[in-house]
Amino acid sequence: MTRENLLKWAPVLVLIALVLFFSAINPNFLSLRNFARLSIAASPALMVAVGVTFIIVMGSIDLSMEGAVSALAVIFCYMLVWLGGSVAGLGLLAVPATLLLGLGVGAINGLIHVRLRIPSFMSSLAMGFVGTGAAVLMTGGNIVKIDDEVFRALLTYRMLGFPLMAYVALGFLLLAWVIQSYTRLGRNFYAVGGGEDLAHASGVNVKRVRVLGFALAGFFFAVAGLLQVAKLGQAESVTGSNLMFISITSVVVGGVALWGGIGGVWNALVGVLIVSVINNGMIVIGIPDFIQDGLLGVLVIIAVILSTDRRSVAFVK
């Protein structure tokens, strides 16, 4: 087996091993009920991970997700309330409006990074702080509750045992896959990640691709924000917290190379599942959940080390 193949399949093997491990210790892990619970936790994280995957494929990174998700979730709740309080009526408009806003926020992120020529990890981190601050500003530190039965059906309505939001997340995952594999933009992400200057020399408008990439990520952050609201029934300034660590961990553990050009949304799915299975499995087998962050931190480092072709890296800051 070549190194490349091994790296490609290692995340899936890890996932299978984890599932077997937890099931062996506690058979309840393998139950439909538990998997449904797992899917609820995983759906918003998956959307964030998918969004950031595009960026990492380009060789950049987007760390704005926590602020973006919080702010977008809060805005969505306010819009929903303002438009009558239910997605069964006018309130439905709040959904596309939030998604569009997500696109816009992402585009601003991208423009700051590209126009001001600031490394994306720093510009997006700063924008994340702005997002969180904006969420606090809007809510005054309070919680905005949503009690729209129709919207909450994303959580409460079940098909084949899984909540609707799992299917919604899967649907958006498919959309992301289509973008990744069948659109010029999607392919250009790989070209930029594989060799930015070469892509530029071939006539790819790298700056535009970058900005659009960040916009797309913003769109998926908006989806994540909607799912978070559906899951929690409320929005506040901490709605997006912890999503940064989980999503970046997932994407990297799933096999998307931080150097760009390698991996894709399926890797994000596998990564999110690995992280969710670890989180969920630890609870199921009765290990305190605070070990998770530490374990995930170690996992990330291992994943990055394994995926890095050190011969090709001159020096790293």
């Binding site: 981190l125 990297v252 800051k317």
Partner: protein
């Protein structure tokens, strides 16, 4: 006078302008007592920023500083009774060790520092949650006062925190300007490849930079724990952003090599003045994040040396 020549002087000019503006808005601002307490309040943040300065000085970043401080508030509180005053030494060593580990991962395995420190921060957060049982923990008041009470008392109206800050600044300045370590950190930040070609063991000095950052973050956590008389796994959240802002507005660019700890002092004062004026305008801490985020972007954009970044990723 062109912008390039003006650049090194921008931080203190900004500070002076801010002070003038704020004191015009709020005449009470210039009251010595309030200024002293304002300065004392920001000392833990300053210590953390001092540490991050070393990481940024070599062109890296330390995103674990906040988690490190969080962890130390818990560690110091939990171990105070059993270790006594040695807990301070232990905490600083612990922070240095965690930082060194970030540096080791970064240099040995070519993991970018923002990822390695983020991951090590995750580990520190876990440790904090584990030790604290995910709750706030408090110090034994008598023990605290006996061992560390001096840290937060006053002499002739001057808070001791300020003296601690001054001593640390002096030590860091000495390291930066007068030692082999400081010289090599500068060389790595200003021209890593030339440093390699001069026979400097770059990996070792980078690791030292992250260790310094970790140790200082731990000190910040310790002081914070003493001030609060306790700790919690997320008590220092909200430190990271202003600390990074302090370093950058002080004039140490993300690309490293110039600036230094004195700049960070100016940067921290800028942050303090902005904070004070925001409190006056009744903008609370979390809302300030929004503003600091924007300042961060502006500060990076102004200071970054784009000649060093062939491709901006």
């Amino acid at each position: 006078m062109n912008l390039e020549r003006l650049k090194p002087h921008l931080p203190w000019i900004t500070l002076a302008l801010l002070v003038v503006i704020v004191s015009l808005i709020d005449p009470n601002f210039l009251n010595p007592a309030s200024m002293l307490s304002l300065a004392a309040d920001i000392v833990p943040l300053f210590i953390m920023a001092l540490g991050i300065t070393f990481a940024i000085y070599i062109g890296g970043i330390d995103l674990s500083a906040q988690s490190m401080a969080n962890m130390v508030t818990v560690v110091a509180t939990v171990l105070l009774t059993s270790m006594g005053a040695w807990v301070a030494v232990f905490c600083v060593l612990l922070g240095g060790l965690f930082g060194a580990f970030s540096g080791f991962v970064t240099t040995r395995f070519y993991v970018p520092s923002f990822i390695s420190t983020l991951a090590v921060g995750g580990v520190a957060f876990s440790v904090a949650q584990w030790l604290s049982g995910q709750r706030s923990v408090s110090m034994n008041a008598a023990e605290r006062d006996a061992l560390f009470g001096w840290m937060i008392s006053k002499t002739a109206g001057v808070p001791h925190e300020l003296m601690i800050a001054a001593v640390l600044l002096l030590v860091c300045w000495f390291i930066e300007r007068r030692t082999v370590v400081g010289r090599n950190l500068k060389a790595i930040g200003a021209g890593e490849l030339a440093a390699v070609a001069s026979g400097i063991s770059v990996a070792r000095y980078k690791t030292i930079a992250f260790a310094l950052s970790g140790a200082l973050a731990a000190l910040a956590g310790l002081l914070f724990a003493v001030k609060l008389s306790g700790g919690a796994p997320s008590v220092a959240n909200g430190f990271l952003l202003p600390a990074i802002v302090a370093v950058l507005v002080g004039g140490t660019p993300l690309t490293g090599g110039v600036g230094g700890v004195v700049n960070t002092m100016i940067g921290t004062l800028i942050v303090a003045v902005i904070r004070a004026s925001m409190l006056y305008l009744e903008i609370n801490a979390t809302q300030q994040q929004m503003f600091f985020g924007l300042i961060l972007i502006a500060a990076i954009a102004l200071t970054i040396d784009r000649a060093k970044l062939k491709i901006v990723k």
